[in-house]
C-alpha cells in the first residue's frame, strides 16, 4: 500500500528476484541453441524461435504453479510476492518468440516487411495454418494479446485505477491464456516434433499445473468439513473456536462459520485474542492465514494490514473489516459469529501468561484455564 506515487518500489528482494530471473532467462537463451543444435538440425533462426518459445512455456507454467505451491508450503511465499515481475519478464520472452517467428517466416510476405505486413502474412499464411487441424498461430497470438493487457496493467497504478476486484478478475484471464498456450504448443510444435517425450512433457506441465491447483484447493477447503460446535450462553449462540492457546503468538487461524465467510482469529500483543472478518478488503486474500507484524494483522497476499482490535487499517489507510465479539469460557474461545459494523472496536480475550518452563505443573490437567479477561459483552 502506498499513498504517494512511486513508479516501482524497488527493494532488495525485488532486485534479487528480477536479477535472478533475467540471468536465468539469458542463460537459457544462450545454452538452448548450443544443446539443441545436435537434436534439431535447424537454422539459427529456428533455434532462436524455439529457445524463446520453450523458455516462455516453462516460465508461464512455473508462474502458474507459484500460487498453489505457496498455499501448500509457506516457503514458496517469497516467490509469490513478486509474481507480477515474473509475469512481465515472461511477457517479454513471449514477445521475443513472436518476433522471431514474424522475422523468420513472415518477413518477405506479400504484405511487405512492416510489422502490420508480417502480422497479416501470419494470419493468412497457408503453411502456418495447415500445420494442424486448428490454426495454432492464432492461439498464440490471442494468448499474447491477453498477456499484453496483463503486463501493461500489472502496475499498482492500474490496480488502484480499476479497483482491486476488477483488476483481479482481469488477471484471472491468465488461465484462459494458458489454455491457449497449451493449444498453441499441442497443435504447433507437437505436430511437427513427433517424439513422444515432447508430448509427455507438455501433458505433464499442463496436468501438473491443474493437479497442483486441485490439491491446494482441497487443502484450502479442508477446514470447512469440520462440524461447527455451538455454545448457548446468556441467550447468545456462540461458536466454539477451541483452545485459544492453539493459535501461535502473532498468528491468525480460520474459524469456519456455517453459511458465511470464515473469521480470522488473531493472537496478538501480550496474549490478546480477537476475531475479525477473514477476507481481506483488497483482493479477497485469506487473512486467517496472515500474521501480526508491528501489531497489525497482515494479509499474506499483498501485505494489507488491519488492527486486530477494531479491524481498521492503520492510518493513513482507511479500509475496515467487520469484527466479532469474543469471550473465554472454561478455557475455550467463543465467538459470536454475527458481524459487527466494519471498524467496530471489540474487547479482546486476554490469556494469562504462559507458565515459565521451570514452573511447577498445574495441580490438575483438567482445571479450566483462568479467565483473565471477559468478552465484549462483559
Amino acid at each position: 500500500m502506498s499513498v504517494t506515487y512511486v513508479p516501482v518500489q524497488w527493494n532488495r528482494p525485488k532486485v534479487v528476484y528480477d536479477a535472478t530471473l533475467l540471468a536465468a532467462v539469458a542463460l537459457y537463451l544462450w545454452l538452448f541453441p548450443l544443446v539443441a543444435r545436435g537434436v534439431w538440425p535447424g537454422t539459427p533462426q529456428i533455434l532462436a524461435m524455439r529457445a524463446w518459445g520453450t523458455c516462455g512455456f516453462l516460465m508461464i507454467t512455473a508462474i502458474l504453479t507459484l500460487g498453489p505451491l505457496a498455499r501448500l508450503d509457506r516457503r514458496f511465499l517469497p516467490l509469490l510476492y513478486n509474481r507480477r515481475h515474473f509475469g512481465v519478464i515472461f511477457f517479454a520472452v513471449a514477445l521475443g518468440h513472436a518476433k522471431a517467428v514474424l522475422d523468420y517466416y513472415h518477413r518477405y510476405g506479400v504484405f511487405g516487411d512492416g510489422w502490420a505486413g508480417r502480422l497479416a502474412s501470419m494470419l493468412t499464411n497457408d503453411t502456418a495454418f495447415a500445420g494442424g487441424v486448428l490454426p495454432f498461430p492464432l492461439f498464440g497470438l490471442v494468448a499474447l494479446a491477453i498477456f499484453l493487457v496483463m503486463a501493461v496493467t500489472s502496475h499498482d497504478f492500474w490496480q488502484a485505477f480499476l479497483g482491486p476486484r476488477a483488476w483481479k478478475t482481469l488477471h484471472m484471464a491468465v488461465y484462459a491464456a494458458y489454455a491457449l498456450v497449451v493449444l498453441h504448443v499441442a497443435w504447433g510444435a507437437l505436430r511437427f516434433e513427433t517424439h513422444p517425450g515432447y508430448a509427455a512433457f507438455v501433458a505433464l506441465a499442463a496436468g501438473g499445473v491443474a493437479a497442483l491447483h486441485l490439491v491446494a484447493a482441497r487443502r484450502s477447503n479442508a477446514p470447512d468439513a469440520a462440524a461447527a460446535r455451538w455454545v448457548e450462553l446468556d441467550g447468545v449462540r456462540w461458536l466454539d473456536a477451541g483452545d485459544p492457546r492453539a493459535i501461535p503468538p502473532d498468528r491468525a487461524r480460520p474459524l469456519v462459520v456455517p453459511g458465511a465467510e470464515r473469521i480470522a482469529l488473531v493472537r496478538w500483543g501480550e496474549g490478546k485474542v480477537s476475531a475479525v472478518h477473514g477476507v481481506c478488503a483488497h483482493q479477497g486474500g485469506p487473512l486467517y492465514e496472515g500474521k501480526v507484524i508491528d501489531g497489525a494483522l497482515t494479509c499474506p497476499w499483498h501485505h494489507w494490514t488491519y488492527r486486530p482490535g477494531d479491524g481498521q487499517s492503520p492510518p493513513p489507510f482507511t479500509e475496515k473489516l467487520p469484527t466479532y465479539r469474543v469471550r473465554l469460557h472454561l478455557g475455550r474461545l467463543l465467538v459470536d459469529p454475527r458481524p459487527l459494523p466494519p471498524g467496530t472496536p471489540v474487547t479482546p480475550v486476554e490469556l494469562a501468561p504462559d507458565p515459565a518452563p521451570d514452573a511447577p505443573a498445574p495441580p490438575s490437567p483438567s482445571r479450566p484455564l483462568p479467565i483473565a479477561g471477559e468478552g465484549a459483552r462483559g
Partner: protein, 48 residues
Amino acid sequence: MNRGQRTAHERLWWVLGPALLLAVLASLLTRGVPDQAPPPAVLEEGPR
C-alpha cells in the same frame, strides 16, 4: 480467499485440467490427418 473464490477456483481447475490434457491427446491422435483434400483441379489434371 472468500468462499465464492475458493469454490469457483476448484471447479475451474476440475474443468480446465482434463480439458488441457484432452486437447494434447486430441492433437496427438489427429496428427498426420490432412486438413483438406487437394483442390479438384490438381486431381483432374493428371500427370503431364
